[in-house]
């Protein structure tokens, strides 16, 4: 679906990499959720998993934050389509669980922006789904 975004290219990158991933890495749940519309759709496309609406997305992040001691997203390469309110990013996800086991993923996300928040997000993972 096509939405109207109010953000310019720089603001789209800031929303995806700082407001969103910056807060995910700090486990700031409320600030992370503030990036989403109430009825947002969060799809992990490589495992056909859909989290529909902010309540389901909140539960997913609570599980995610509880599963890993350390969460780092880094080395972003952003592709920004300002005209259409869309941004894609490739990045490394570095996750360390409570037993010290490290997981490295080379993922790609796609975001579709309505106004100034995420309406849809699609995650393509290079390994097993960690957002359950």
């Amino acid at each position: 679906m096509q939405y109207q975004s109010s953000l310019n290219a720089e603001e789209l990158v800031t929303l995806a990499t700082q407001n969103y991933f910056g807060n995910v890495d700090q486990k700031n749940l409320q600030a992370t959720l503030n990036c989403f519309h109430d009825e947002a759709l969060f799809t992990i496309q490589t495992s056909f998993t859909l989290h529909s609406g902010k309540t389901a997305i909140k539960e997913m992040f609570e599980n995610f934050f509880d599963s890993y001691e350390t969460i780092i997203h880094r080395d972003f390469t952003c592709t920004v389509d300002e005209k259409n309110g869309r941004i894609a990013a490739n990045f490394i996800a570095e996750l360390i669980d409570k037993k010290g086991q490290k997981t490295l993923l080379n993922n790609t996300n796609f975001w579709r922006i309505r106004d100034n928040k995420f309406q849809e997000i699609y995650v393509y993972m290079s390994g097993e789904n960690v957002l359950k």
């Binding site: 290219a9 496309q45 490589t46 592709t79 894609a88 796609f110 290079s126």
Partner: protein, 131 residues
């Protein structure tokens, strides 16, 4: 740096590259790539190097192992500044070995130089078909 229009990126992906794949037109597909291009299937970490070496061999195998191939339902993220297009799409494909149609929801990231693919990254929602 040559400045290509927004639609150039959409057209090379849909009207040349995937049109060529769906019609098993190897020449049309390979013409989208630089000779030194790479294609990296990320979900299985499989790297194909060189248009006339690894990439050609991969497509020959893909065309040989499968009947009907269809790519559609595209949503593109186009960045003229960085000469990149990231595309989400559905795939319907009929592997001879399985004997029935398979459905995938994939994405590709294409990074271009002077109007041709230099680096392509593929994510698949199922088993790697680009062996």
């Amino acid at each position: 740096m040559t400045n290509f229009a927004y639609e150039y990126y959409v057209d090379i992906v849909t009207k040349r590259y995937f049109h060529g794949v769906d019609n098993k037109d190897l020449g049309l597909v390979l013409d989208c790539f630089h000779t030194h291009a790479t294609l990296h299937e990320m979900t299985s970490d499989t790297l194909h190097e060189g248009r006339d070496e690894g990439i050609r061999a991969m497509f020959e195998g893909l065309f040989d192992r499968n009947g009907r191939i269809w790519h559609g339902n595209f949503v593109h993220t186009v960045d003229q500044q960085s000469q990149a297009i990231c595309s989400q799409f559905s795939v319907e494909i009929f592997p001879h070995e399985i004997g029935r149609q398979m459905r995938y929801e994939n994405c590709n990231r294409f990074y271009l130089k002077d109007g041709r693919f230099e680096r392509v990254f593929v994510y698949m929602s199922g088993e790697n078909l680009l062996k």
